[in-house]
């Protein structure tokens, strides 16, 4: 539960960073919108109005977030374990970068192995194998059965 005026809470550093990011996004929207080239005859309410309004709103929200951070009124956060989360991000990155060359099944094997590792399941060669086989079955159902275009690699090309 958040009680805004708890004097014992200290200013929240991470929340300040959020306020800064929000302000940064607002500035980028302002800047990108201001360099738009507009046609000469222009409706009174053109394509710039909405982005400007959103950027203005984000600036106000950034100020509000900073105030909220100063008062420490963000909900308490448990300490976190970033290792597993990084494994998952790494697995996703691996799949994203490999899928065009290795095909859906093998690249997804990497994703599955890293995710299993994040949740403490191993060994990775085994989870990779399970993931690749499962992804291959899924690929077959979706690419052949449902005509979805999914990237094929050496493994997928084995079946005509």
């Amino acid at each position: 539960m958040t009680t805004g005026s708890n004097p014992q809470r200290r200013p929240d550093g991470a929340a300040f960073v959020i306020a800064l990011i929000l302000a940064g996004i607002a500035v980028v929207i302002f800047w990108q919108t201001s360099i738009m080239r507009l046609p000469a005859h222009q409706a009174r309410v053109g394509p710039q109005v909405f982005p400007y309004a959103i950027a203005g709103g984000l600036l106000l929200l950034a100020i509000g977030t900073a105030v909220s951070a100063w008062r420490g009124s963000f909900p308490a956060r448990p300490r976190e374990n970033y290792g597993p989360a990084l494994w998952i991000v790494g697995g996703l990155l691996g799949q994203i970068l490999l899928v065009s060359s290795l095909g859906f099944s093998l690249a997804s094997g990497v994703l599955v192995a890293c995710t299993a590792k994040a949740f403490g399941r191993g060994p990775m060669w085994f989870t990779f194998l399970c993931g690749a086989v499962f992804a291959f079955i899924v690929w077959f159902i979706f690419a052949r059965g449902l005509q979805l275009s999914l990237p094929a690699g050496p493994l997928e090309r084995l079946i005509p």
Binding site: I25, I29, R44, G57, R77, R79, I88, L111, L148
Partner: protein, 515 residues
């Protein structure tokens, strides 16, 4: 034709055998995915959207109807057998349902939830079928300014009115609105905020954002949580059938839940979960067995479950008649319509009457199928609950990336000679955003709704101002628009007043988080 005739025609279409098969596949997949812990109805619908890509619009929407209702049923099973807090629609069900399951009455709890959902779904869908044409007749006369006011009201209720912080709710909404600006402006054809990246010209896909925020964000949150305790699943022991006593206590609760849930869902305001809280409070007040509340009272499952399903059917009303999504699930369904170039709204009812009525009929068909399917298959669903976490989340990520690739598999990115899918990279980026949002207590639904409703509201605003030649007074010209703004203001100010008086807990419990 009157409603009966249209509905009959809808049934004629829905009962064709291939449409029955679509509905069957939809409810089965929807239940199977919805039952998995950590997957709410919104994510179920988003993950399963790719399955419908290659079907014709009617078949796809029928399957969608099945997925939607199936996902709702699946979610209630999870919350009864597995006490999963954090998923707001099922908090109340878990309250009493999980207690019942722990006392060995899991079967009756599941049964009253399933039958209650059926009763509520049936009444609410029929109510929608009869109220919607009437609403469409009114909506036809709405001007752009009225629509804009309606959307402002939806924005306000989705982001600011509920949840524990209006600041964080509105921030989430503005992130969504900002993402909605990206891409080519529909009226002038100019690129906005595309940073010269061709992939951004088409704008950001609602499904990519929703899948990323819900699936990847959630996975990261679970993985990063310390301890990683495995939730214990309560086995279903004893008879799954309800006793006479259970029936007697359940049916008034079902009807009350439906009466409470449907209007709340049908209002152009956010938060379908609110009905479940009201229903729980009502049951608690009216029960003859107050001592059982908190220890597994069957009314406490029957009422909220009915309310939940009734409001889920209710949210389809603003979606279909006004094109106004008020939950994340509805936003994704709107995206599902848009992939076929269909824009829900009053015109859909006149131009695609056949399709709309086939959809409404298949909702009823799906509802019936679920009743027949679910009780006998409870054992199968329970087994799905026991999928170990590593495999469960690996599977969620696998299907998240599969859906994204299936929607847009262009390998347009290039990093050190490695070609990659820009869409997948966005999926990862938004997934990390979802993690940060959750970690800092931001609600997710406003982001999704902002993305899809932002461009629509901008269109209405500019249309209104173009008609008035730039005079902003047009926005408050009609009595309807004025009253909508008044309601919107009240929706912000009343909770604020409560919060200032230290009664904020009530509203933080009403957080419209998950769907």
């Amino acid at each position: 034709m009157d409603t009966f005739g249209l509905l009959a025609a809808g049934f004629a279409a829905a009962l064709q055998w291939q449409n029955l098969i679509y509905a069957f596949i939809g409810v089965t997949l929807g239940t199977a995915v919805g039952v998995l812990p950590g997957i709410g109805p919104a994510l179920t619908v988003a993950l399963l959207l790719p399955v419908t890509y290659r079907l014709d619009p009617a078949g796809s929407l029928i399957m969608f109807a099945g997925i939607y209702y199936g996902g709702m049923y699946g979610g209630s099973t999870t919350s009864i057998l597995l006490n999963t807090p954090g998923e707001s629609a099922s908090i109340v069900t878990a309250l009493e349902g999980n207690k019942m399951a722990r006392k060995g009455r899991g079967g009756p709890a599941l049964a009253t939830a399933a039958i209650g959902s059926f009763v509520a779904g049936l009444i609410a869908t029929l109510a929608m079928a009869f109220v919607a044409p009437w609403l469409v007749r009114i909506a036809i006369s709405f001007g752009p300014a009225d629509y804009f006011a309606l959307m402002v009201l939806a924005f306000v209720t989705v982001s600011a009115a509920f949840g524990d912080s209006a600041l964080r709710g509105v921030t989430a909404l503005f992130i969504g609105l900002g993402l909605g600006v990206i891409g080519i402006d529909l009226q002038t054809g100019q690129a906005r905020l595309a940073f010269g990246i061709p992939d951004l010209l088409d704008g950001i896909e609602v499904t990519t954002l929703a899948v990323a925020l819900f699936a990847i964000g959630e996975t990261l949150v679970v993985a990063a949580a310390r301890g990683g305790l495995d939730d214990d699943i309560v086995a279903v022991k004893g008879s799954i059938w309800m006793t006479m006593e259970d029936w007697k206590r359940s049916w008034p609760a079902w009807l009350r839940g439906t009466l409470i849930g449907f209007p709340i869902g049908a209002m152009p305001a956010g938060g379908a979960e609110i009905g479940t809280f009201f229903s729980y409070a009502a049951e608690r007040r009216l029960t003859k067995h107050p001592e059982e509340f908190g220890h597994g009272a069957i009314e406490g499952v029957a009422g909220p479950e009915a309310a939940n399903n009734a409001s889920a059917a209710g949210t389809l009303m603003p979606l279909l008649t006004l094109g106004l999504p008020t939950t994340a699930t509805a936003a994704i369904m709107l995206a599902g319509f848009q992939q076929f170039g269909l824009q829900p709204g009053p015109l859909l009812f006149t131009n695609n009457a056949q399709l709309v009525w086939a959809l409404i009929a298949s909702l009823l068909v799906a509802n019936f199928m679920l009743l027949v399917l679910n009780l006998p298959l409870i054992g199968v669903w329970v087994r799905l609950l026991t999928v170990p976490k590593p495999w469960l989340y690996a599977g969620i990520l696998l299907f998240a990336t599969l859906g994204t690739l299936g929607a847009n598999g262009a390998m347009s990115g290039n990093l050190f000679g490695l070609r990659f899918s820009f869409e997948l990279m966005m999926l990862l980026g938004f997934g990390i955003l979802g993690y940060v949002l959750r970690r800092f207590g931001y609600p997710i639904a406003p982001v999704v709704i902002g993305l899809i409703l932002g461009p629509l509201s901008e269109q209405q605003l500019r249309r209104a101002l173009a008609i008035s030649q730039g005079d902003p007074m047009v926005l408050v010209h009609s009595p309807l628009a004025i009253s909508l703004y008044v309601i919107a203001a009240a929706a912000v100010l009343v909770p604020l007043w409560f919060r200032l008086r230290g009664k904020g807990q009530v509203f933080s419990q009403l957080a419209a988080d998950e769907d």
